[in-house]
């Protein structure tokens, strides 16, 4: 089966610019997650979708980050405006419905803010 697809793989922007990331989950996976992974740390959940509805966005900095999953499949994560501290790898994951289901991760987008 095809895995979670993410693009772009790398992005370099200047602070205060905007950036968007795209994710296509594994076919049939209703649950989609966006994580932020700062170098040397474990991933931190930003937002969780169940189909096209938001389940948890408590750790999403909503003044600058937004995410959508309009048709319950693909998702985009946007940062506007970017800050230096947003430099990280942004990982998308998907899973079947259920809290005991493992999450399957894409290879991520490495974002560098200059």
């Amino acid at each position: 089966e095809a895995g979670v697809a993410q693009s772009p793989r790398y992005k370099i922007i200047e602070k205060r610019q905007s950036v968007a990331f795209w994710c296509n989950p594994i076919s049939g996976h209703a649950t989609l997650y966006w994580y932020q992974q700062i170098l040397g740390q474990g991933p931190k959940l930003l937002i969780q979708f169940q189909n096209n509805g938001v389940v948890d966005d408590s750790q999403l900095p909503k003044d600058r980050f937004s995410a959508e999953r309009l048709k319950g499949v693909d998702s985009t994560l946007k940062i506007q405006p970017a800050k230096l501290e947003d430099s990280a790898v942004y990982l998308c994951a998907s899973s079947l419905e259920g809290d005991n289901q493992p999450q399957h991760f894409g290879d991520g987008t490495r974002l560098s803010i200059l």
């Binding site: 474990g42 931190k44 959940l45 809290d99 005991n100 493992p102």
Partner: protein, 114 residues
């Protein structure tokens, strides 16, 4: 609150020797426990999970983990390590008290020398 601790930042072993990566957790209810591996510039790959039942869980690539409720531990093991096992390993936990959010440890870098 839930938390996951990986007490060792790095583990170094010789090829062919047993490999152990330690993980302890702190949760309010019954945990769902997971191990993931991350290779450079890649996303996280699911290795194994403990949900309920047998305390010894077998996973991918010859890895296994033992759930110990009294010691609140979930150590990852492999009887005979390979050079290709060199990677970053993450332990993660979900529990009902935290709305089943997946919380990751800080990671342990494993180096297997030939």
């Amino acid at each position: 609150a839930q938390s996951v601790a990986q007490p060792e930042d790095q583990v170094n072993v010789a090829e062919g020797n047993p490999l152990t990566v330690k993980c302890t957790y702190s949760v309010s209810g019954n945990p769902y426990l997971f191990w993931y591996v991350q290779y450079p510039n890649r996303g996280l790959q699911f290795l194994l999970k403990y949900i309920t039942g047998d305390n010894l869980v077998k996973g991918s690539y010859g890895f296994e983990a033992e759930f110990n409720k009294s010691q609140t531990s979930f150590h990852l093991k492999k009887p005979s390590a390979l050079v290709s096992d060199s990677a970053l390993y993450f332990c993660a936990v979900r529990d009902v008290a935290n709305d089943y959010k997946l919380s990751f440890g800080a990671g342990t870098t494993v180096t297997v020398r030939a």
